[in-house]
C-alpha cells in the first residue's frame, strides 16, 4: 500500500509499505477513504514530539471502509463505512470506565502520561496512522462507529478530532449564559470552539490570531469578534480594555505548542526543542482571563517542560481545565447539531490533497500558504 512516511524534521514522502495485519483479536483493518492533516501533526512534522521515528506514518483524522476484522470483533463487518476517533482506547481500564477515553491505560506502553493516538509518535503508543491507504484500528468494537448515511464524508472526517476537540474545549470552559469567551487560535479547533461557545450560551465570543484570512473565517463562520494580535502592542492590555478591565470569563487555548507572538518562546520551543511547547497563547490566556475565571486548554503540548506563568494562575484563583478530547463521547450530541444545521464542519476545509502530494500539503499547511485552514487527504484509489 502507499503511505505517508516521516523522514526527519520537515521531510516526508510517500512509500510502499505492507498492508497492516490483524495483531489482536479485536483489531480491524480499515481502508482509508479520506484523511486530514491536523495542526498537531505539524508538531511531529517539525520534530517537536519526542520519539517520533523515521518510517512512521502520521494521521489521526481519518474515515474509511472496514477491510478486515479480527476474530472477536462483533459490531463491524467488512464493507462498513466508519469514522475512527483519534484516541486508541480499550473501553475497560480504570480511566475508560470513567469516561476518560483519551487517557486509556491499556494501549500505550511508552508513556503513562498520555493515552494512545494514531500516527502520533511512540510517545503516544507507536501506532501507524491514517495518512495511508490502510490502517490498523485496535479495539474495533470500542472506538470506531458506522457513518450515518446522511452524513457527508468530509463532515465525518472532521468528527474524528477537530470538531469534537473544539466543542470539548468550550465545555471545559464551563460557560454560563452571557459569559465573555476568548479563543486563542483561529485554526479549525479554535473556529469550532468559538462556534460551540455560542451553543453553550456565551454572550460574547472573541477570537485572536495573527492570520487575517483565518480571522475573516472566524467572523463569517463563527460569528466572532476578532483581533489580530500583531496590531496591538500588548494583546492582554487590549483584551482588558475590551472587557472593561475585567478580563474574559473563559479563555480557550486552541493554539498549543507552536504559538507565535513571542520570538524567544517560539524559537526555544519550535526550533530548538528546548520546551515542550511555546506557551505564548497559554500565558496570554492566563493573563487575559478574569480573576476566578477558567482557562481551557485543548492546544497540544509536548511532554517536556514549558515556561508557563503558573504564579499568575495561582494568584488569580483560576480554574485550569484541559485534556485530549474523548471523541466518541461527543458524537451523539454533535451529530444532532449537524443534523439540525447548527454546525457544518466541512465549511473549514480549504484544501483537498491527493496522498501522492502530501509533502506539498504539509508545507502549505505548515507555512500557512494559500489561505490554508484545513487540508484533507483524499484517496485516489478508493
Amino acid at each position: 500500500m502507499r503511505a505517508m512516511v516521516y523522514r526527519g524534521p520537515y521531510k516526508i514522502r510517500v512509500e510502499e509499505k505492507d498492508i497492516p495485519k490483524i495483531e489482536h483479536p479485536n483489531d480491524a483493518i480499515v481502508r482509508v477513504t479520506t484523511g486530514a492533516i491536523c495542526g498537531s501533526d505539524l508538531h511531529l512534522y517539525h520534530g517537536m514530539m519526542p520519539d517520533t521515528r523515521v518510517g512512521t506514518t502520521f494521521g489521526h483524522e481519518f474515515v474509511g471502509v472496514v477491510h478486515q476484522v479480527g476474530p472477536s470483533v462483533q459490531d463491524l463487518i467488512p464493507g462498513d463505512r466508519v469514522m475512527v476517533p483519534f484516541n486508541v482506547y480499550c473501553g475497560s481500564c480504570y480511566f475508560c470506565s470513567r469516561g476518560l477515553f483519551s487517557n486509556c491505560h491499556n494501549v500505550n506502553p511508552n508513556a503513562t502520561a498520555v493515552g494512545a493516538i494514531y500516527g502520533y509518535s511512540h510517545t503516544c503508543g507507536g501506532y501507524d496512522g491514517g495518512q495511508a491507504e490502510f490502517v490498523r484500528v485496535p479495539f474495533a468494537d470500542v472506538g470506531p462507529a458506522r457513518i450515518p448515511d446522511w452524513l457527508d464524508e468530509e463532515d465525518a472526517v472532521l468528527l474524528t478530532d477537530a470538531l469534537p476537540t473544539g466543542y470539548f474545549g468550550a465545555q471545559l470552559g464551563d460557560i454560563v449564559e452571557g459569559d465573555t469567551v476568548v479563543v486563542f487560535g483561529a485554526g479549525p479547533v479554535g473556529l469550532f470552539a468559538a462556534k460551540s461557545a455560542w451553543l453553550m450560551g456565551a454572550g460574547r465570543v472573541i477570537v485572536i490570531d495573527h492570520l487575517e484570512y483565518r480571522l475573516e473565517k472566524a467572523r463569517s463562520f463563527a460569528h466572532a469578534e476578532t483581533y489580530n494580535f500583531v496590531e496591538y502592542d500588548d494583546i492582554v492590555v487590549h483584551l482588558k480594555k475590551a472587557t472593561d478591565y475585567l478580563g474574559a470569563d473563559v479563555v480557550i487555548d486552541a493554539v498549543g505548542a507552536e504559538a507565535d507572538g513571542n520570538f524567544l518562546q517560539h524559537v526555544t520551543a519550535a526550533k530548538l526543542k528546548l520546551q515542550g511547547g511555546s506557551p505564548v497563547a497559554l500565558n496570554w490566556a492566563i493573563d487575559s482571563v478574569r480573576k476566578g475565571g477558567t482557562v481551557s486548554v485543548v492546544g497540544a503540548y509536548g511532554p517536556i517542560f514549558s515556561a508557563v506563568k503558573f504564579g499568575d494562575a495561582v494568584n488569580k484563583g483560576l480554574t485550569l481545565r484541559m485534556n485530549q478530547c474523548p471523541v466518541k463521547r461527543q458524537w451523539p450530541r454533535l451529530l444532532e447539531h449537524i443534523r439540525n444545521g447548527y454546525l457544518k464542519p466541512s465549511d473549514v476545509v480549504t484544501h483537498r490533497i491527493p496522498l501522492e502530494h502530501i509533502a506539498e500539503g504539509y508545507h502549505i499547511f505548515s507555512a500557512k500558504l494559500d489561505d490554508c485552514i484545513k487540508p484533507l487527504i483524499v484517496s485516489t484509489t478508493a
Binding site: 526527519g8 524534521p9 521531510k11 514522502r13 489482536h24 483479536p25 519526542p50 520519539d51 521515528r53 523515521v54 518510517g55 512512521t56 459490531d75 486508541v88 482506547y89 480499550c90 473501553g91 475497560s92 470506565s97 469516561g99 476518560l100 491499556n106 506502553p109 511508552n110 508513556a111 503513562t112 511512540h122 510517545t123 507507536g126 501507524d128 485496535p138 468494537d141 470500542v142 449564559e177 452571557g178 465573555t180 460551540s196 451553543l199 453553550m200 450560551g201 454572550g203 460574547r204 487575517e212 460569528h223 489580530n228 500583531v230 472593561d244 507572538g261 524559537v267 519550535a270 526550533k271 480573576k291 485534556n323 478530547c325 447548527y342 506539498e360 508545507h363 507555512a367 500557512k368 500558504l369
Partner: protein, 197 residues
C-alpha cells in the same frame, strides 16, 4: 460600560446583545446552555457504555521486546508495532526508557536526541539506495510556487514571518555542513595520497 470600570465595583455589565438577539443571529445559540446537554460534563463520569466486553483485554503477542515506560506495571496488552528500535538511535531510546521515568527531563531529552540521530542514520542509509532522501521533494517546498508563497507572506500582518527564515537553515544547514565535511575529507585523502606518491 459603567463609568467606573467593572472590576472596581460589584456589578457585572450585561452582555452587549440580549439572549433573544443572539438566538436570532446565531443558529443554535444556547442549545447546550444546560450543562446536562454537554456530553463531557462532568469530564469524569462512570458508566458510559464503551462496547468493551472484557475486564482486561486479551494480550497482543509481543513479537520483539517492546520498550515501555518504567511507570507502567507491565507491557500494556495492546501496543503499536510501527518502527521497532534499531541502530544507535534505538540504543539511545532503549536506554532512555529503561533508565528514566517520564518525570525526568533526561528521558525526554534523550528521546529528542535519538530522533535527530535516527534522521541522520536514515539519511545516510538512503544514500546507498536507489531512492536517496531528496530535500526538495520531501519538504514540499515547490508548493511555494503553487501556494502563492510570496503573496501569502508579504504585505500581511503575520507574526511567523519573523522566524520562518530559520526553517531552511534547520533543514538545509546540516546537509551543507555534511557536504563541506565530505569535501574536506576527500581533499584530505587526496593530499595524503599525493604525499605518499
Amino acid at each position: 460600560m459603567s463609568e467606573t470600570p467593572t472590576p472596581y465595583v460589584a456589578g457585572k455589565p450585561l452582555p452587549p446583545e440580549s439572549a433573544a438577539a443572539l438566538m436570532a443571529r446565531i443558529p443554535g445559540w444556547g442549545v447546550d446552555l444546560d450543562p446536562k446537554d454537554r456530553p463531557s460534563f462532568p469530564q469524569e463520569r462512570p458508566g458510559i457504555p464503551t462496547g468493551a466486553r472484557w475486564d482486561f483485554p486479551e494480550r497482543q503477542p509481543e513479537e520483539w521486546i517492546r520498550e515501555r515506560s518504567i511507570e507502567h506495571a507491565f507491557l500494556t496488552p495492546v501496543f503499536g508495532t510501527s518502527t521497532p528500535l534499531k541502530g544507535t538511535s534505538g540504543a539511545i531510546r532503549k536506554y532512555a526508557y529503561r533508565k528514566y521515568s517520564e518525570a525526568r527531563a533526561a528521558h525526554w531529552l534523550l528521546l529528542i536526541a535519538a530522533d535527530r540521530v535516527d534522521a541522520w542514520e536514515h539519511h545516510l542509509r538512503s544514500l546507498a539506495t536507489l531512492r536517496p532522501d531528496n530535500p526538495v521533494t520531501e519538504t514540499g517546498v515547490m508548493s511555494e510556487f503553487s501556494g502563492n508563497g510570496l503573496r501569502s507572506r508579504f504585505g500581511q500582518k503575520r507574526a511567523d514571518v519573523s522566524h520562518q527564515w530559520i526553517d531552511p537553515l534547520l533543514v538545509g544547514g546540516p546537509w551543507v555542513l555534511a557536504g563541506l565535511g565530505a569535501v574536506a575529507a576527500v581533499r584530505g585523502l587526496r593530499r595524503r595520497a599525493r604525499g605518499r606518491g
